[in-house]
Symmetry: C2
Subunit: 397 residues, 2 copies
Amino acid sequence: MTTPLSGIRILDFTRYQQGPFASVMLADMGAEVIKVEEPDGGGEYGRRLWKERDGFTGFWEACNRGKKSVCIDLRKPEGRDAALDLGATCDVVIENFRAGTMDAWGLGYEEFRARNPRIIYGQATGWGTKGPLASYPSFDQISQAYSGFAQHSGGGPGCRPEIPYPGLADQSGAMNFAFGIMTALFARERTGLGQRVEVSLLGTQLALQSPELVHTMHTGKERERAFRAAPIIGHYECSDGRWVMIVGVDPKYWPRVMRALGIEELIDDPRFARGYARQENRHELEPLMEKAFRAMDSAHWLARLRDADVPAAIVQEYAEVATDEQALANGYIVEQQHPRFGLMRTVGLHVQLSGTPGEIGAPAPDLGRDTNDVLRAAGFSEDRLGALAAAGVILQS
Amino acid sequence: MTTPLSGIRILDFTRYQQGPFASVMLADMGAEVIKVEEPDGGGEYGRRLWKERDGFTGFWEACNRGKKSVCIDLRKPEGRDAALDLGATCDVVIENFRAGTMDAWGLGYEEFRARNPRIIYGQATGWGTKGPLASYPSFDQISQAYSGFAQHSGGGPGCRPEIPYPGLADQSGAMNFAFGIMTALFARERTGLGQRVEVSLLGTQLALQSPELVHTMHTGKERERAFRAAPIIGHYECSDGRWVMIVGVDPKYWPRVMRALGIEELIDDPRFARGYARQENRHELEPLMEKAFRAMDSAHWLARLRDADVPAAIVQEYAEVATDEQALANGYIVEQQHPRFGLMRTVGLHVQLSGTPGEIGAPAPDLGRDTNDVLRAAGFSEDRLGALAAAGVILQS
């Protein structure tokens, strides 16, 4: 039994989040991920985001666990050559700079391909590599704004746009990026061909919203975005101040919800009996349901709704999720030992394979921890390593 | 040149969104996706979601393009046998019922594996297959609520929780699911082994939020969630009522933004000159920036910010995205012919491979359009097809 990506080597130039979380997913599946960082400014900027007084950063840890850190100054010719030689020993190169940056540094797809025609070059941009905005910088919130997500999340056209969750475009972009890399690795296994894989924040955001976009492209209008999607698809406050979410999307749930709430007289009420009528008369129905929920506490309602097999859940905050029995039982939250911070909890494997399971890697590495080991293993002589170190082109921590 | 998944056959029992969008992604890459629907109630329930007067539904189209539709009554023994025989000709079986449903129908992993040991069985649940909630139903908003996303998006603990975007857990879950299937297909190419792949709404939501969760698990507290992440990471209203988003996450952007806004006197103001101070004094800085933005229109500010190479974008609504030049230039929005609705726009390929590109499939199929063709190609005799049709077990439209 081995991991699905054992033996796959990835040279990882990614920064911030869209690229780095994609390579965490590949590292979780057993790939050897060699993160290249520059000595200038103390390595990748993600090391400094969300930094606490004790030096811990959840952002950096979540986006870089399971990787090796190799520190090379890419702006010097010897550094560029070292990166290209390292790439010749790898299966995949990935980066998420704005389009053209790696080419300008002499580190574009063609350079790596010339040394290794089987290389897969994964490129995650902000805007795609074509079109008038291709060479502009982008970030997560730029893409949430431009793609329609911020406006729709804020309530639709005319409302104040919102960024409900910074990092959403990056994290979903990373999942899409990892899918693209795996698709190219699969194709290479069958054809022997390397190739370039492109994703972008914009492209992934449109895919994420494709049902809404296809709707708007047909009808010319955005669908309504309300606090609750429907009277029985939404969350209600209970007497203890906690909120219970119910999702009664299938018509079979309507009578079950009413019975669980003890307002079964509404089941056949002509204002609410059918889905369309319920939506039309939601401003009459929702206050009745709000009143019912407010009469008892969340534990009471959750038990009644679950007894009736209605999809229901309490609205939780992160401190609760961190010790949640369901998350722990499935290995979504696990413990690991951190060399500096001791025993810590982290997010576990969320894609679980029965025959060749992945395994979560060690906590995120210190800058340049693996420089010498990785370069030696790639065939760099001691003379070359010494010269590179003396010239300040590489750094070993 | 061929598609990356040409020759890969997927038997697709998925419903609603988490499963169906995953198989759209695989169909986009060239897999043959055979969607199994039941005659009862007119096929998959997704056909009836968001239905317009003309019969069009953006939800169904976005989640089912490029697939074949085979209509089989799975609750009859002959229907179950037909599905198992069909599965024996496929590479992948995927489903997103609650845990245990397929097993109860005699359509679990073991049944398919007994007929084809190389089968990959992809299972997307709500809660994972272990733990106290494994057998409960779940949906998108349930997972947004339970995973901490609704509370954080609403402003954090103590605020009113929000579901900013219904479908978010499903669509990101689908991307993660597609990644899992590709990983198993890759592993099978190298080892010959079939296996089970599990993802869940809960697991994917935790992965999506892993930076925030890892932060909370270390510090015990959620990070602040405000309207703007920081004074220079957020959106501002301009004189024409439109909003411009800027993201100045790197320190180099601070002086550029101030100069672009014509308030360069703030660059060295001790209240704002450094990142920590800006965050501390944001309630002084943001009003000054709001006032600056409100003095001119969005086109003016966008041009000035882009000239300064500051990451910036207008906040768009879907009607604008639908005809957006950048999206069109990258093929993220494309046209296709629909047999019933004529020329339509849809979301194009968002994962783009240079050597073995995917291609978007035909619009979503009518119920049972491909029943006879698919079963014949799988070796079903005319006698068997006739008997199944006569008994109402299969349906050809």
